[in-house]
Symmetry: C2
Subunit: 369 residues, 2 copies
């Protein structure tokens, strides 16, 4: 299981998920496996949840046209992207698993994979969101890692799939597990941590898609998972006609509450992941500038409608992430009760929840800040 | 000179400068002196650089209408704002000086004030920018402090004067000098530092204009002084039609270069001032979302014109701050030469300079990042 052993074998990549972001990242991965034949098997397998598109199976269309017409139309994925609708065939022999599917499908996929994944395999999660059950929040790398018994990293950043697919300049943050602390230092362990960082960095980095590595898997996941609550707050500010000063203040306060929340409940996270990295400050900027959480919040103020009405009218029945996350955080903080250490709690997170679920007037957003 | 002695006397406030920001802050100060009669003399004197407006002296108009029709039209400043065109009369007996004038007028104003300011007086600078001479950068509080021999704080944030004047929610950062380190702790010194923070906080904080205090005068000044270089980079990104991911990446990189630059050359500054405070991350957000530096940079890309042509066409001959600051930083870094410690230097700051002054194509902005 040493880094050396993994290095001599070529890495065989499987992308699990073929939606918008999955297709964009499969294209990036396929560029890099082709460019680094010493390190990677050229073909990148993509597990496709099969569906009929224009009367034909999506996997067949991808394998014939090298394009995903449903989720990433107009973009050539590369001839070495191979779609496979059978999960166990897709992961056969894979040493590098890229999880990029909607989170609600993860439990069934993991269940099916159990026992079919070698301990030499490494995983990285690009899944958005976090898993909340009452007073417990889990990140998806933790879930993947515990079910499959392999290390799992995380990739998240200010990344809109279509912009990445068009090779527009952007950054992303790779969170890798820290090297295990041993005394005296365990050389194998260090090589191993280096190897994870090396593997994913080589698989994802391009001239325009820039990867920075931090040893903070949970911090990388949490910011992307919780940011939409801040995007709602920014949208309320826009809807109220407040200026860019107010909006910048709300973004700043939101960033700090998010950081403090994560540092309080996830001791392994680092403040710098939120304050300095793409997955933190930059992703919050993007989400507060564009994106549908910001938009729906603006419309809530301007029309007086609830987010549920606006979901129905504007999102074809899809659910908005922000209100759901605000509810989960509220449940979590309520369940924790007096154990919340931060003086004053998390007033912005709580105000967003009150506006979404208790009809609080958006003007009151700043009252408790 | 103890804090106690200063506390029993009432603070007499003089605002030096009556432009857009000066008028907005005089209004805030006058609200607070009225509200805190135990601490402040009610009237706030404003030193007005006299000019004729609609055929009458500006100071007379302000004293009659309580409005500054030239620089902040439509806003009532308060009946207790008293305009005074004679500098020495304006500062007579003042214990709290608020410097908020264009930086080019500071030397002559300070020269005239010399010898007329008691050592009990305290100052705060709201002046934008920094003073650069070759390999030397000074902040204005340092200049004020050294000429007048009194401590000087700084106030800066994501603050647009008109939005502050309309009581829209925003935040600002107050940087106060740290309490002098003595062993054993000098109680007077501690009271004194408290007193500075207390004085300015009480003078400026309102329900909608929220002040956070940090012990980092230079950090507060530097971010506001240098941010326009980042706003230019964001404007180039907008002009090129890059998406919000690219822009967020450029803002993030800009914020970090600015922080690293200041930590390298101003050892008293703190990273958190840049990463967590309104004068840092929030002011960079605002400047990259709105403001004329961003706009002119976007137009440079879209029209192919130089910033000088666009200044003439769009700014009535006024000078744009960003290119001038980029030039000053370039001169400074060149003069420092090999002494620049940061690996790779400051590629974004340097790229902005090259685009402005050496005709580098804006597309190349990200090449060295």
């Amino acid at each position: 299981m040493s880094a050396h052993v993994r290095k001599v074998e070529k890495e065989k990549v499987c992308v699990i998920g073929s939606g918008n972001w999955g297709s964009a990242i499969a294209r990036i991965a396929a560029l890099n496996t082709k460019k680094n034949p010493d390190m990677f098997v050229k073909d990148v397998t993509v597990y496709v949840y099969e569906e009929q598109v224009q009367g034909r199976p999506l996997s067949a269309i991808i394998n014939e046209t090298h394009e995903n017409p449903k989720y990433l139309p107009g973009i050539q994925l590369g001839q070495n992207v191979v779609a496979e609708p059978d999960l166990l065939k897709a992961i056969e022999g894979a040493t590098a698993l890229v999880f990029v599917l909607p989170h609600q499908f993860l439990p069934s996929v993991l269940k099916a994979m159990r026992g079919h994944v070698s301990h030499l395999t490494r995983a990285v999660s690009l899944i958005k969101g976090v898993e909340v059950e009452g007073a417990k929040i889990s990140t998806f790398p933790t879930v993947i890692s515990s079910v499959l018994g392999i290390p799992c990293s995380a990739l998240s950043g200010a990344n809109i799939a279509n912009e990445v697919a068009e090779d527009k300049f952007c950054e992303s943050t790779l969170g890798v597990p820290p090297a295990p602390m041993t005394t005296p230092p365990d050389e194998d362990a260090q090589l191993h941590a280096f190897s994870e960082s090396h593997l994913w960095h080589r698989l994802f980095q391009t001239d325009t898609f820039r990867i920075r590595v931090v040893q903070d898997v949970e911090g990388v996941c949490l910011c992307g998972g919780l940011k939409n609550v801040i995007a709602l707050a920014a949208g309320f500010s826009d809807g109220l006609g407040w200026g860019s000063n107010s909006k910048a203040a709300i973004m700043r306060i939101g960033l700090l509450e998010l950081k403090d929340f994560c540092l309080e409940f996830f001791p392994s996270t680092r403040a710098s992941t939120f304050l300095e990295e793409s997955c933190g400050v930059a992703d919050i900027m993007t989400s507060c500038l564009s994106g549908r959480n910001r938009l729906i919040a603006e419309l809530m103020v301007k029309t007086g409608k609830s987010f549920r009405e606006l979901e129905t009218e504007n999102l074809n029945g899809q659910k908005l992430q922000g209100p759901q996350t605000a509810q989960e955080l509220h449940t979590f903080l309520t369940a924790r009760g007096d154990n919340v250490r931060r003086p004053g709690g998390y007033p912005l997170l709580e105000a967003v929840w009150r506006i979404c679920y208790e009809g609080m007037r958006p003007e009151k957003l700043i009252d408790g800040l």
